[in-house]
Every structure is written in C-alpha cells, then in structure tokens.
Amino acid sequence: MENKKKLLINVVIAIVVYAAVMILLNSGLLNRQMRSLITPICTNVMLAVSLCLIVGFLGELTLGHAGFMSLGAYTGALLSLNLPFPPYVSLFIAIIAGGCVAAVAGAIIGIPVLRLRGDYLAIVTLGFGEIIRSVINALDITGGARGLSGIERLTNYNHFTLVFVLTLIVIVVVSNLINSRHGRAICAIRDNYIAAEACGIPVSRFKIMAFIISAFLAGIAGVVYAHNIGILKPANFDYNTSIEILVMVVLGGMGSIKGSIIAAVILTALPELLRGAADYRMLIYSIVLIAMMLFRNSNFNAALIEKKNLKAMQKLQKEGK
C-alpha cells in the first residue's frame, strides 16, 4: 500500500514537471538562455543519478565519470554523423551503442576495483578518465583537440519529450535496481563489505555490475549531451567535469536519488541564473560547498538529527499506547 502510494506520487511529480516545462516552452515565457538550459539539466540529472549508484550506494569514490560520458558522447556523435539512416534511427542506435561502449569501459575499470579500495581506487579512476581523454585527444577520427563538430542537434529543447523520457528511464532503472534484491546487496557491500562477503554476497560480481550499469547510463547521458551542444571537445571532459558531477551527488546527500536530482537541477541552473554576479559565482559556489560539508558534520546538525529522531520515537510510543 505504502509503495503504491509512493509510486503514484512519483508519477504525478513526473507528469507535473513535464507539463510545466512544456507549457513554459510553448508559451514563450522562457528566454533563449533559459531554454538552452533544459537539456544540460537533464544530462546532469542522468549523470548524477548514475554516479549516485557507485558513490552513494556502492560506497566507492570514482573521479572518472566524465570519461564514461565522453566515450558515450564520441561514439554516439561518430555514429550519427556517419550512419546513412534517418536522423532519429541513427540517434536511437547512437544511444544504445554509446551506452554499450561506455559499459565495456566500465567493465575494464571494474577489474581494478576488485583489488583497490578508497583513495587508491579514486586515483585509478581519475587516471582512467584522463587516459580516455588524452587518447581521444590524440586520435584522428575524433578530430583531436579541434573537436568534432556538425552533430545534428536532435536532443535540444525542441525535443524535450525525448530527453525527458530518457532521463526518466535512467532514474527508474537506478531506483528500481536499488529497491531490488541486487540493490540491497550493493548497499550491504557499502555498509560493511566483510560482513556482506560473510553473508554470501558475491562482492566482486556486484561491484563490477554497479560499475557497468553506471557507465552505461553515463554513456547515454553523453550521447544526449553531444546531440545537444553539437560540438565535442576533449577539454570538456576533464576531471573538473567528473568533480562537478560528484559534487552534485554529495550535495544531494549521498545515497539519495531524489537529492541527486534536485542538486543536479539547482547546480546546473544556479550558475546561469547568477550570471549577474559572474565574477563571484564560482567563489560563492566553492564557499557553499565547504560550508555545506562543515554544517553536515557539525555538532549542531547532529543535535538537530537527534531531536528529530527523539520526536519520531515519542510519536511511535504514543501510537503504541
């Protein structure tokens, strides 16, 4: 009963969001700058949700998510530039292929995951991301540092329905996975991997699985990204991009898909809306980041949480009577 109610609420939220954006788009209330923000917001939501699977639920830190995204973006762009099919068919193939190539990379990166943990893993994923970027930079087929241009803009705001559906699919895949038996196993690995192993959970298999799924979804986000901006440059996928995605996941509260979505929307929209204070916006952004982390781990916050828990307990006790 509880679950059905939740599902209904989520469906209503999705419909309301979709309707609101469609109305805003069609009524011409949005200026050009706001319209151009719509797809980046969706891309970042996809990226944040897919990274949330690894960082929030599996509990491993990766700094190479932009690498997966760039693989998807380049594969997708090259396919839709070279395939002879009608644009939407090519786009469909590009999305699947982009996801698959990124997933293969995810599997390759998943192997060291079995041997490394924590900070060492973080640096290896950072290394992988940079390797992907420099290889793309050095290849001819990807246009090197000049970039790849002339990609048809099939996912910009005129195609909001398509982008919205893709974003929903990504969110549904991750949230259904987390609520399944596999998802509980992944969370158990995060909480205590030795105990999880002792309970008979095949830790290695689930770790690689999480990496592959996350990479696949990031690859899809990359394809959408490529078909929105129309030009790809290796410099757009450096480690700062990975960190930006990571910040979304962390600010949203690790292990919360809803939080990641909200943080992705706000963090993508905020810098654009703050353009008036352009010189100070990155400064504000960094101060917010530090302040947020300090607050989350402060005694004051701990006291607040305790108070809330106490109230909930008292309520439960009353209900018991």
Binding site: Y120, S134, V250, L289, N297
Partner: protein, 295 residues
Amino acid sequence: MSLLNSILEQLINGLRTGSIYALIAIGYTMVYGIAKMINFAHGDIIMVGAYALYVYSSILKLPLVAAIILTVVTCSVLGIITEKIAYKPLRNAPSLAVLITAIGMSFLLQNVALLIFKATPIPFASVVNVSGIRLGSLYLSGTTLVTLGVTVIAMVALTLFVNKTKAGRAMRAVSEDRGAAELMGISVNATISLTFAIGSGLAAVAGILYISQYETLMPTLGALPGIKAFVAAVLGGIGSIPGAMFGGIILGIIESLSKAYISTQLSDAIVYGVLVVVLLVKPSGLLGKLKIEKV
C-alpha cells in the same frame, strides 16, 4: 653518441620536472600519513606560492631572498589556516566529506586568485640568476641546476627532520596511531598543524621552481602539477616520504621520455597507464606498506 646524448638530455629534463613533482608529492603524502585525507587544495598552494613570489619580488620590489622566505612563510600560514578552518572540524567525518571539502578549498583558492589577479596570464621572468654549465656535449641550464640542488637539500633536510628530531618523531607516532600518540602526551593538533606547514612550505618552494621554469602566472597553474604529484605520491605508496620522492622522480622521467620518443599528446595517458599497472600489481604503491584489514 647523439642518441645517447639526447637520452641523457631527456633524463635530465625528467629529473627536473620529477623533482618538482617530488616536492609537491611529499606534501600530499605527509598530510595523508597524518591526517588520513587527500588534500586536493595542495596543488593550489603551488599557485599561491607563485603569485606570492610575484607580489613580493615584482610589485613590492623586495630583495630576492626576503621575497622567497616571505613566500614560503605565506604558504605555510595558509596551509595551517585551511587546516584549522576546513579540515579540523571534519576530523571524524567520513573521508568522502573531507575530500569534497578539500575540492571546495581548491576551487576557493583558484577563484580568489582569479578575482585578485584576473584570468589573463601574467608573464613573470625567472628569478633564478644562475648561469648554466656545459658537461661535455651536455648543457645544464641554471634553472635545472637550482631545481636539482634545492630538491636534494629539501629532501635531506626533511629526512633528517623526520628521523632525528623530537617533532619528527611525534609526526611518525601520530601517523602510526593517533590515539596512542595522544595518550603518550603528543599534541596531535600541533603535530597536524606542523605537517600542513611543512607540506605547504615545500609546495611554495615547488611553486617558485615551477614558475622559474614556465615563466607565466595563471590562477589554474597549480592544477596540473598538483594532479601529477598526487599520482606520484600514490605511485610511490601514499603515506611514505621516500615513496613520494621516488614516485615523483620516476613520474617525471617517464613523462619526459614518452614526450620525447613516443608522443606528446599520449604522454599523460602513458603516465596514468603506468600508475594503473603499478597499482594492479602492487596495490599499495611501490614503497607503501599494505595494511591488513581486520574485522
């Protein structure tokens, strides 16, 4: 003969960049050993060092020695302040929270520099005024000589400090077991502050050497050597000071050889590839100790 010559030249180039990496990597590794955190803002301390030198020597026109000393002091103080403000309250927080804070700190330093000095690169001639020497057919520039000399001196001094003095012993004790060290009467806070001060001071020295080599000031100049040095620290085994020195120099040499003989564009990929392979074979780095996890 000419091939041998060019290889030797590349080795020396590698040694020069590598020793800068090593100086930065020591900061990463010391902080990691004692505070168990990756200080992502460490790379930006290099940038602060470079700008501080510019301000002291070019704008305030102080004598060179005074400017260098002031630069090192500025960075050390900055290191202590960042630790007190941003990292100390998070000492018992999950490591990811600390990492994010450090990333925030790095953004903050970069953007403050961007606001003060603007994004346009500032040309800044090398402060090193030493003429180069010729060894047979090999030419060593003044910057190279000073870089190598300063690095050797700094490393010897640091090794002596860590192994022979009381404060150094306290540092090793804290990195071994913080709780036990505290019970023995070691002031953990003071030791951590000292570590940040030394690490940031070395980063300032590295910043001065780096800027004498590249001669252009930018708010983001610290990011690249910062990441490379971080890789060097992990390669050598994070937490181990000899490992950081060794890792830095190895990394510099690999980078310069692959730039010269394989491909300039792929040199970064090769550097990271070596890192991945080393970590797969020896997960705790070249000289790191493997910790056995107990339940």
